[in-house]
Amino acid sequence: QQQVKQSPQSLIVQKGGISIINCAYENTAFDYFPWYQQFPGKGPALLIAIRPDVSEKKEGRFTISFNKSAKQFSLHIMDSQPGDSATYFCAATGSARQLTFGSGTQLTVLP
């Protein structure tokens, strides 16, 4: 049973545009929601994370929006750049410590 559903599978954005990736979770015991960025041949790298006691967290051009009642969270990349082209994974974890990942979004930012 997939516990974290991610969409879209792929996303193409023009340079300077806004990239939006969405995730939904099922397990209400999750209490930590990170986003990872992965380049080809590399391991995932933590981008930004949020806990359910806040509805939004912003770090530079990256913002997480969190809707606890809907069990949804999203990543917004403002002023998207070609260097942002990568695969993005949402994830969730709770007391079990292990991360449950979404299926990934391949982002392409056109110059």
């Binding site: 990872y36 933590l46 994974f89 709770g94 410590r97 299926s103």
Partner: protein, 114 residues
């Protein structure tokens, strides 16, 4: 080292052979995780160590897979009688282990079973 180190970067083995994959976590990180990532998919949890003990091995797919962390630092993932379906990138991550703190991933070992 500065980050999580995994060796080898690539491993090609024949079906039925035994392989060992090594992970060197960030110094001082007590928690260590193994994940498996198939092409075009998100990483899937295999096993979690807290110190020397396996705190959760519920993600290991079958008894051909085994992992150890004898001194609470370096970990080895062992796969017996490899099958073509075992081909994937095996990722190791470590964290301070205090609650749901951030996990740092290595670059992975790409295993190909031919």
């Amino acid at each position: 080292g500065a980050g999580v180190s995994q060796t080898p970067s690539n491993k090609v083995t024949e079906k039925g052979k035994y392989v060992e994959l090594r992970c060197d976590p960030i110094s001082g990180h007590t928690a260590l995780y193994w994940y498996r990532q198939s092409l075009g998919q998100g990483p899937e949890f295999l096993i979690y160590f807290q110190g020397t003990g396996a705190a959760d091995d519920s993600g290991l797919p079958n008894d051909r897979f085994f992992a150890v962390r004898p001194e609470g630092s370096v970990s080895t993932l062992k796969i017996q009688r490899t099958e073509r379906g075992d081909s994937a990138v095996y990722l190791c991550a470590s964290s301070l282990g205090t609650g749901a703190s951030e996990a740092f991933f290595g670059q992975g070992t790409r295993l190909t079973v031919v």
